[in-house]
Symmetry: C2
Subunit: 261 residues, 2 copies
Amino acid sequence: MQHFRGGLDHWDPAITDGFAKDRPVILFDKAGVASSSGETPRTVEAMADHAADFVNALGLSQLDLLGFSLGGYVAQVFTFRHPNVVRRLMLVGTRPRGGEPPTDPNYRPCATSTDPATGEGTLEAFLYLFFSPSPRGQAAGRAFWERRHRRENDIDRPSSPQTMAAQSAAITDWRQVRGERFAELKSITRPTLVVNGSKDVMVPTINSFSLSQHIPNAQLIIYPDSGHGSLFQYPDLFLSHARMFLEGNNHKSMSRGHCHD
Amino acid sequence: MQHFRGGLDHWDPAITDGFAKDRPVILFDKAGVASSSGETPRTVEAMADHAADFVNALGLSQLDLLGFSLGGYVAQVFTFRHPNVVRRLMLVGTRPRGGEPPTDPNYRPCATSTDPATGEGTLEAFLYLFFSPSPRGQAAGRAFWERRHRRENDIDRPSSPQTMAAQSAAITDWRQVRGERFAELKSITRPTLVVNGSKDVMVPTINSFSLSQHIPNAQLIIYPDSGHGSLFQYPDLFLSHARMFLEGNNHKSMSRGHCHD
């Protein structure tokens, strides 16, 4: 489940192809997003219901779910509502409902920047928002940008202004606490991997710590000298960690330790 | 570098034997601790100087360093003072100088408990302080306790009351901020892996987040449903993560991404 304004081609092929080596990988544009028809709804809950319709239409009874940023909000709500469908959950660069908002004044203009030539966000804004300012972080960002644009045919469309406005409304709504802050996270009993970069200016890194503290069976990994796009900065390392998590090495290790409960 | 009161036999053989499969592993009791002669000093700095003497005596010019709990305090000071000797640093269940102290009222009586039959801490206190209270956490703690006591001959001695008192003084001193809080962590430029359990009642887990936020090249991993002894709860998973870290997969991944700086 993809980030704000993002479509099918905004995933890192190093990661999606890596997962696809030994499992089916399903990417999709939710209603109204990029090449998908329909209208993008203005709440995370409605997006999660669309995702459930999609999963039902495919006839899937169980899946591993990766949600990145806004996609991570949707993945959380999907898991609240369909706990038995989710086998393992990965939440990358995301936050719980009512989590800490960004404090960087450049956040809003960068997040809504549009390159008139492509209809998408500019490279400059993307490097600022998704990667650390260090030479290493910026170089990793340019390397990802190159991978992201390798596809030559059958390219997904940029998301529309309607999608941007509706997703913005959903993000604003997600900032509001409802009931006891973070209490709903206790209901996520599936093994969960929470990942972020050390200095995320868009979804502050402390949100990942909060997710891991409140989801009962969560492992947290934070990568050095990186931002919101930590998975794009360390694709091989992320893939190794994610595959170890999906293969359930933590449970294997416990049974070797004679723990049978 | 071992925890408060701990000696050679208090490491997890699943971990030390695992590391030893493809690298030399050096465990040692610092001055006064367990079977080592001499007197245990009352500051972390003096412990780090003893460690440096030991490293010099062995003629080692570079090493990977794992510090657990109090051993993590010593490992930090060792790294401040001998940055070129440390190739990669692992800080487990530990905190920076002036970090957050424990708030659990059971901490002190448990940490100083002594079983008259063995001269060491009791199993009950150990399970409380090092493992989560869940059935899974407690079972993992008992499984570790069994591994820890497998050695039948040439067993290390329990640490003396002098060591306990001196190490307690060093821990109390380490609680004091000196100069700008956490500023010294910026000088650790070596790749660092920070690890803890999600609910450490002895060295609160937020300290590991702080370490990873202030050490420039730090990766953070926090394990679910676990406490201070997270590495003992998930020995195989910890070993996999630590070996990936030591083998430097993060740098490999970057060079594959065409990042040459």
